[in-house]
């Protein structure tokens, strides 16, 4: 029997699981309302380092609002958010970004006037520091910095297999590829937490499979913690380690996918049983 194959089959994969995962983010009793309309009511949950956490729920359940709270776009009226052990208050979106939270959007929010390459380069903005005067001269430090980051961006392009569209303006790309570029842009930020708002919305089966593979690869290759909103239950069950279920702005279930799937509240919510 050949040595190569016998040894290969015992590849270790329990190492990551074995170590108790530490908490990356915790949301405590968060409530959010717009002019009296409650979007989120008293929600608490946590996200552990290295996991894929899904947030699901019917339309209007407050999922996107939840992401917006996490990355500082909305400020909750009540409750606290603890990020990497520190409680934070009123954080601006760009501060969230600089602390390692990146996200993609439900409706692709790429920079339409730029190429794929520039869009992903834009994800490096926070990591580039050459000031205006170096930029004016370009030659020297500014150029060197640009090249350094270009190289990193090329890694992402390679990773997402979008070489052929590197210099195509993103507006001309089909939807599925735009979503991929958007993921690339978020990855370029080298985030600790990656928020994905319906990464597979509007995709066909093949594109969904590709995207699922990329999400898993991101999680495994870079160890990035991922929180994702998704409608496709099959995808959620396959991808996520733990699932939070929201309905009408309230948390109705939380746990591993198989538990959540069996939860009566969840079933009722999805079948539209009235409260």
């Amino acid at each position: 029997m050949n040595a190569f194959a016998t040894d290969m089959t015992t590849a270790p994969d329990g190492s990551a699981e074995a170590a108790a995962r530490e908490e990356l983010l915790r949301v405590d009793n968060v409530s959010l309302s717009f002019g009296g309309v409650k979007a989120i009511t008293d929600i608490s949950f946590d996200i552990l380092k290295g996991e894929i956490r899904a947030i699901i729920g019917p339309n209007g359940a407050g999922k996107t609002s939840m992401l917006n709270v996490i990355n500082g776009f909305y400020h909750p009226q009540e409750g606290t958010i603890t990020w990497q052990g520190k409680e934070r208050r009123k954080m601006k979106p760009y501060e969230a970004a600089s602390q390692g939270i990146a996200r993609t959007f439900q409706n692709v929010a790429l920079f339409k006037g730029m190429t794929t390459l520039d869009n992903i380069m834009s994800g490096r903005s926070l990591k580039m520091h050459r000031n205006f005067f170096w930029q004016l001269i370009w030659r020297g430090p500014a150029e060197a910095e640009e090249i350094e980051h270009r190289r990193k961006v090329e890694d992402i392009i390679d990773f997402l297999e979008i070489q052929a569209i590197r210099k195509t303006p993103v507006g001309r790309l089909p939807y599925g590829l735009q979503k991929r570029v958007e993921l690339g842009r978020a990855l370029a930020m080298e985030p600790d937490l990656l928020l994905l708002d319906e990464p597979m919305a509007g995709m066909n089966l093949e594109e969904k499979e590709d995207m699922s593979r990329f999400i898993l690869d991101v999680n495994q290759e870079f160890g990035t913690t991922i929180a994702l909103i998704e409608h496709d239950m099959g995808v959620v069950m396959d991808l996520s380690d733990r699932v939070v279920v929201l309905d009408y702005g309230k948390k109705i279930a939380d746990g591993p996918p198989e538990d959540v799937q069996a939860d009566q509240n969840v079933i009722d919510a999805y079948l539209g049983v009235s409260h």
Binding site: N2, F4, D7, P12, R151
Partner: protein, 661 residues
């Protein structure tokens, strides 16, 4: 082989030795480029030498020994080419394998070759090798180029390319004399040693491992370089499968002997852009590639504005009239010369530029017959495109078209040092320094193919014309007869059909039957574009293929072929009486085509037996259900009712008259 090497250019006899020479003589010239991470990463010959040395020493430390076989699996990448030479430096034999072949095929090849090591591109190939561990018990270690997805694998017998190189470098750092020892290790290598083993994906039976020696490759390569005046300034694009002899000779043997630069594209979906960027000076492509390029040109020009199209057509006419003459150095009228110059500015130059062939000094096509119109098209643009005839067993070269002696229907004169003869049964035979050593572990086949005095059966039927050029008619075993005794050369008919851009594939039947009938595949690009212009809606290949308008169009093509055939006394009896358009595209995944995209006639005949029956029983349509394999490996079935059309045949006499007018 005996005695023929005396006339060939002399030099180092093995590739590791040639590498050292190149590093010394052309050290600062670029040897390899690869489009990776958005730019053309480049390596000079001395860098390549260092890379190969480090990897080779690393391989040795892993236990690769003289005579071991090492599989090379993946797309064209410098590192995979280097792996071959690194293995050769240790006396091991590289076995490049078609990376897209299905697992069972690959497992057979690797098992048969008894490979001990494998250098592969990425996770996909590693997984494939893992899955076939049972069939390849000899496989010990696998080295991969791309780590993605492999981080969590157990690395006891799995190594990254870098780690092997690092090991080699570390060992060199520890022991200063190691580099010298490494060189000494292959200094004693002989030209007659086995350099590489290439498995031919024959149309029938299991693949056979063709063993080629360094002499085979190096001498053939040097001869070819001299023949076409190739030197270290050439640029080639390495994009054909590495397991194919053509790529091995063009991108390795000739590249090393001439010290020219090999460019590896970023991927298959960027190949057009990459070709344009590099603009190879020496270019090889099977007819299929030239056909596709031409189809693309024509399809795009259909969408061009009226004036532009008129201009294009006008200048293409000019080119057709005088282009080839100018290329052949003949004198033409001053006005034509001027018009051609104008055309060069407005059409030919830009076209060549778009195709990335601006700098092409010489280009070859081989493998199959190329349509005369296609061939002429490229030549009339001023591109020195030529045909050659070759085989794995010959280290490619059997015949070549010399500059200025280009005839569409012949494949040229014997290459330097090649002797040629036609056997009594019409089969072409040759003897040359490139003739292979033998088939690996298959003496029976070796004896059947190679005579004791070095002559090799090609399996092709052909004639040598008065001008000394070889003309191939068909596979020797495929040439058959209709029941009425008329000569039936299926490939000849098929090629005529395939010269229409709308027809992608054709399979002709007729041997020991009453008449000739054909299966056709339409070309989805060409017909699809036609459909778009004519507001023909279709959802799938199947739907388009069955469309009455498409049938009418194809019918006119078939009729044209019959007309042509009627003009040739030998072939007039084999006109097409019935045809059908297949409901699916012939596909290598379904085993209908070989990996080099040649039709597997017998397989198709078996698979579509009901359709063949229908062709000959006079019915006008036939329902059929076919199993298919999707790209991701899933199986499914498609069903269709295929229409069959009858064709008028043309009277030979009338054809003659028309031709005479």
């Amino acid at each position: 082989m005996a005695g023929s090497s005396g006339t060939s250019p002399s030099g180092e006899d093995t590739f590791p030795k040639i590498l050292l020479r190149n590093a010394k003589v052309f050290g600062s010239r670029t040897a390899f480029r690869e489009k990776d991470y958005g730019i053309w990463q480049s390596w000079t010959w001395s860098e390549v030498c260092e890379e190969i040395r480090a990897f080779s020493i690393g391989l040795k430390s892993l236990g690769l020994e003289q005579g071991d076989k090492i599989a090379i699996v993946g797309a064209n990448r410098p590192r995979l080419y280097w792996s071959m030479v690194a293995a050769q430096a240790l006396g091991a034999v590289p076995v490049p394998v078609y990376s897209d072949s299905v697992a069972e095929e690959m497992a057979y090849v690797l098992g048969h070759a008894e490979v001990k090591f494998a250098v592969v591109e990425d996770q996909e190939q590693v997984d494939k090798l893992l899955s076939m561990s049972g069939e390849v018990p000899t496989l010990k270690d696998v080295i991969y180029d791309e780590i993605r997805g492999l981080r969590d694998y157990d690395h006891t017998h799995l190594h990254s390319y870098e780690s092997v190189q690092d090991k080699g470098r570390a060992l060199q750092a520890e022991n200063g004399s190691l580099a010298g020892e490494w060189e000494k290790g292959f200094a004693g290598g002989k030209g007659s040693d086995i350099a590489v083993m290439l498995y031919t994906s024959g149309t029938t039976g299991r693949p056979k491992g063709v063993m080629l020696s360094f002499d085979n490759l190096a001498i053939s390569a040097r001869n070819a370089n001299v023949f076409d005046h190739l030197d270290e300034t050439e640029e080639v694009l390495a994009y054909l499968p590495m397991a194919w002899i053509g790529d091995h000779v063009f991108s390795l043997a000739q590249a090393f002997t001439a010290a020219y630069c090999v460019n590896c594209p970023e991927g298959m979906d960027t190949i057009d852009v990459d070709r344009r960027e590099i603009a190879p000076t020496y270019f090889f492509a099977p007819p299929r590639v030239f056909e596709t390029l031409l189809t693309q040109i024509m399809v795009r020009m259909e969408d061009a504005g009226k004036t532009k199209r008129a201009m294009f057509n006008y200048f293409m006419d000019v080119a057709r009239k005088v282009g080839e003459k100018i290329l052949n150095g003949e004198t033409v009228a001053f006005k034509d010369k001027l018009l051609y110059k104008l055309g060069e500015f407005f059409v030919y130059g830009p076209l060549k530029n778009r195709m990335g062939l601006t700098r092409m000094k010489v280009g070859y096509t081989a493998g199959e017959a190329i349509g005369p119109e296609i061939f002429q098209f490229y030549r009339s643009l001023g591109l020195n495109l030529k045909q050659l005839y070759g085989q794995t067993e010959a280290s490619v070269y059997i015949t070549l078209q010399p500059d200025g002696e280009i005839f569409g229907d012949t494949v040229g004169k014997p290459a330097p040092d090649v002797e040629l003869k036609i056997a009594d049964n019409g089969e072409v035979m040759y003897r040359s320094p490139g003739v292979f050593v033998g088939y690996f572990k298959n003496d029976e086949a070796t004896e059947k193919t190679k005579t004791p005095d070095g002559w090799v059966h090609t399996g092709d039927a052909g004639i040598i014309a008065e001008n000394g050029h070889l003309k191939i008619i068909d596979r020797a075993k495929d040439v058959g007869k209709l029941n009425d005794g008329a000569l039936f050369a299926p490939k000849y008919i098929e090629n005529k059909l395939k010269f229409f851009p709308n027809i992608k594939e054709a399979v002709a039947f007729g041997h020991e039957r009453d008449m000739v009938a054909v299966f056709l595949n339409i070309d989805l690009t060409a017909v699809g574009s036609w459909a778009e212009r004519n507001n023909v809606n279709y959802a799938s290949y199947q739907e388009l293929a069955a469309h009455p308008d498409v049938y009418a169009m194809v019918e006119s093509h078939v009729d044209q072929v019959n007309r042509d055939l009627s003009r040739e006394p030998m072939m007039a009896g084999a006109q097409i009486k019935r045809f059908l358009i297949l409901h699916k595209e012939l596909d290598a995944d379904d085993g209908e085509l070989t990996r080099t995209q040649k039709v597997r006639r017998s397989f198709i005949a078996e698979r579509y037996d009901p359709l063949i029956e229908a062709l000959y029983d006079g019915s006008t349509s036939k329902h059929i259900r076919t199993e298919v394999t999707f790209e991701d490996g899933r199986k499914g079935a498609i069903e269709a009712t295929v229409e069959i059309r009858d064709m008028e045949t043309h009277d030979p006499g009338k054809g003659y008259q028309e031709a005479a007018e």
